[in-house]
């Protein structure tokens, strides 16, 4: 009993160390993201407020709004104060969720615009990436295990699909299923004649509009993941422990489950590292479908020269990606037996 207790204690300590480590790293990246978001626009030659306001004239038609925004923005940016103080002001505003007014959608505040679009993005992208990742990995492992004709047909398709840019897949799906076959609507997050509410009609409309953006992200994800999983699994299938297990007469199904688990771990790390790129591609796919998420918000912000909105949207996306990354690392910690083993030694 005593030995067991000590063992559990050691493992817990190992986990605590691992998670603490990951959490610290999460904080460090978060602070760095803040810093970059703060510094990059200030590297613009000249006075940023002046530059922004000069663009403002082109982007906004509401003249009474321009003055209000200019005053508020000078205060928000605080360009006449020292850099450190500017940063403190910036952090204080961000923590309070105050990003100022949106230039292009005045008098809405940036926080309001982001609030109405962020859930569309989260509800679209994360399920799509996870589903694509799961299907891709299963198909990749299957291709490695079966080989033969399945592999020969499946692999070239995945290679080509993974090389198609996300917006390309989006356009193709849209032209085939929305424009030609008319099975799904071409754009938007729900019917343009509806007001968001909790009726069946609205929910059904949301579901129908969801399909094409969702599957275009899933299909893109499948290709890349399947290729990675296939080569991982082939590598594992040739490993000594597989041969040894075969000699021992262990059932094929059992061996495959070992192989799958071992090949899976690098794929999880891969997901953590590439989730940023995936989100980037998916944001562009959103634009193609005029999905009311952050991608379309960034597009309207760029077109309207809406600096505060761009800054806030990119910050939110970074935070989303970093959090997703952190979550994956936590899950990884539970799955990888080596974390226990290494620390317990």
């Amino acid at each position: 009993m005593a030995v067991d207790y000590i063992y559990v204690e050691v493992i817990l300590r190992a986990y605590r160390k691992y998670f603490l480590n990951k959490f610290l790293w999460f904080l460090v990246t978060l602070v760095s993201a803040f810093l970059l978001n703060f510094i990059l626009p200030r590297l613009m030659p000249g006075d940023p407020v002046a530059a922004i306001v000069s663009r403002l004239a082109q982007g906004m038609s509401n003249t009474s709004g321009i003055q209000a925004i200019y005053e508020q923005y000078t205060e928000l940016f605080g360009t006449n104060k020292p850099l450190l103080e500017q940063f403190v002001i910036y952090v204080k505003n961000v923590v309070q969720g105050d990003f100022g007014f949106s230039f292009s959608q005045y008098p809405r505040t940036v926080a309001d615009v982001i609030k109405s679009s962020i859930w569309w993005t989260i509800a679209l992208q994360f399920p799509a990436i996870i589903v694509g990742w799961l299907i891709g990995n299963s198909l990749g492992a299957l291709a490695a295990y079966l080989r033969g004709s399945f592999d020969k047909v499946f692999m070239p398709i995945s290679i080509f699909a993974s090389n198609l840019p996300a917006f390309g897949m989006a356009v193709i799906l849209m032209v085939v299923f929305a424009v030609t076959l008319k099975w799904f609507p071409t754009s938007g997050g729900y019917g343009f004649d509806l007001i968001p509410n909790f009726s069946w009609k609205f929910i059904w409309s949301v579901i129908v509009h969801y399909q094409l953006p969702f599957w275009s992200i899933v299909l893109i994800t499948i290709g890349g993941q399947a290729i990675g999983m296939r080569s991982m699994s082939i590598y594992e299938l040739n490993a000594d422990y597989v041969k040894y297990s075969r000699f021992m007469g262990i059932k094929d199904r059992k061996i495959v489950s070992y192989v799958f688990r071992n090949a899976m771990l690098p794929q999880i790390t891969g997901l953590a590292l590439s989730i940023g790129t995936m989100v980037g591609g998916a944001l562009v796919a959103e634009i193609i479908f005029s999905y009311p998420g952050l991608g379309s918000t960034i597009l309207t912000a760029v077109l309207g020269q809406d600096y505060p909105l761009i800054s806030a949207a990119t910050l939110i996306i970074t935070i989303m990606v970093l959090s997703a990354n952190f979550l994956i690392e936590i899950v990884y910690g539970f799955l990888d037996p080596r974390i226990k083993a290494v620390q317990a030694d």
Binding site: L36, N163, V171, I298
Partner: protein, 416 residues
């Protein structure tokens, strides 16, 4: 070296990728020599002309005319003039006149017209027909009879002094011109885009610029990644810690966020294709740095490197002669991937409206952006966007194939 190249060219994947890529390169180089038009020249007044051969109407009239008596001519003429709506209207009339629906084939022009002439009567009144509809049928009948008549059209020229129209000649329905004798014929294999530019010429120029952007971005990214990876892997210690900290930071902070922020900060007027390429290069070196570092670490303590150190060679000398050659294949592969992801990054940025400024050169991303803004995909103008997607996919596909082929040559464990 020669042997390695031979080995590379024995890899099927590499050959396929290499051929696709060389074909694209050749087209990009040869096409402007054959058709030296400026790619951003607006030639079409109007948006999205369909692909096809455009023959000057003005020149056709004054070209030598030949008489060809073809039986199908009249039927074809009418078939092309009768739109879907007209056919449905005819069907409506015929049904109202008591012809069973099963006997009406709206796609069969000849039969449809026969039925029409048998049953149409301007004096007849169908219950519920509006006056506008009745006039429409009268106009339709007139148009069809006009098309069927053997009378020609006359060409008239306005007399500059009196303002009176003078007949210069007639064109009968059986008159033909030889396309080769018409001085102005323009082939637009991919039609025109929303601005009225020749899509094919634009596409070739865009591919060239996008490839250049990819190359510049790839080379910058690879150089930065290589330098940092070598430093971090070989020197180790604090240098390694600092570089790896920065690298790991930029791996998790999504690079497109940096791209958006930097591109926006630069401003539309300052954004040339080259600037965009540099920005992409400066934000995409992290993977190369990480991979080079791990390769260098595994090389650092090899015997030949230790021997070199004992012989008193300088760090630069050791890196250049004892480490670089061993990771050269890897760096080339990384470069290929950087180029293709650079092209994709430009496309993504342009769709967001943050691509190179639009007045100078087209890029694949900008063409995509224009097609999307003008809703080519919803209007069914496939020639404005589909060739662009295919070109991007072919470039990245061919580069990835080359990369996989190289990988299999240099990493025997991956061979099938």
């Amino acid at each position: 070296m020669k042997q390695i190249i031979q080995q590379i060219f024995r890899s099927g994947k590499f050959i396929v990728g290499f051929s696709i890529f060389t074909t694209i390169l050749l087209v990009v180089i040869v096409y402007p020599l054959l058709i030296p038009d400026p790619p951003l020249n607006i030639i079409g007044q109007g948006t999205f002309f369909e692909p096809g051969i455009y023959v000057s109407v003005f020149d056709s009239i004054s070209s030598p005319q030949y008489t060809l008596n073809l039986d199908e001519a009249a039927a074809k003429r009418i078939a092309s003039k009768l739109g879907e709506e007209d056919r449905l209207a005819i069907k409506e009339w015929l049904i109202a006149s008591g012809i069973p629906e099963g006997e009406i084939e709206i796609e069969n022009t000849e039969k449809l017209l026969d039925q029409w002439f048998e049953n149409y009567d301007p004096a007849k009144n169908i219950p519920g027909m509006t006056n506008a509809k009745r006039n429409y049928f009268i106009r339709l009948n007139k148009a069809i009879t006009g098309l069927l008549s053997d009378e020609g059209m006359s060409i008239t020229v306005k007399n500059a002094e009196t303002g009176v129209l003078e007949e210069k000649g007639t064109i009968v329905p059986s008159a033909y011109v030889n396309v080769n004798e018409v001085p102005n014929v323009r082939v637009l294999p991919l039609g025109t885009d929303n601005f009225g530019r020749d899509v094919l010429t634009e596409l070739v120029a865009a591919t060239r610029v996008s490839l250049q952007i990819g190359f510049v971005a790839g080379i910058i990214a690879t150089l930065i990644g290589l330098t940092l990876g070598l430093l971090s892997g070989y020197v180790g210690g604090v240098v390694d810690d600092v570089i790896m900290f920065i690298t790991n930071l930029f791996i998790v902070i999504p690079s497109f966020v940096l791209l958006i922020l930097i591109s926006f900060s630069i401003g539309q007027d300052q954004r040339g294709a080259f600037t965009i390429a540099m920005v992409i290069g400066f934000t995409s070196w992290v993977w190369t740095a990480r991979a080079v570092r791990s390769q260098v670490i595994s090389l650092r303590n090899r015997d030949h490197v230790n021997l070199s150190k004992l012989s008193g060679h300088s760090v630069v000398h050791i890196i250049l002669t004892d480490i670089l050659p061993y990771i050269a294949s890897y760096v080339v592969m990384a470069l290929i991937l950087q180029i293709s992801s650079g092209i994709l990054a430009e496309a993504g940025l342009s769709i967001l409206g943050l691509g190179p400024r639009t007045t100078e050169v087209p890029t694949l991303g900008l063409m995509m952006n224009w097609a999307m803004i003008y809703q080519a995909h919803i209007l069914g103008k496939w020639w404005a966007y589909f060739p662009v997607i295919i070109t991007i996919a072919l470039i990245t596909f061919s580069m990835n194939l080359m990369n996989t082929g190289l990988d299999q040559v240099f990493n025997p464990a991956l061979r099938d």
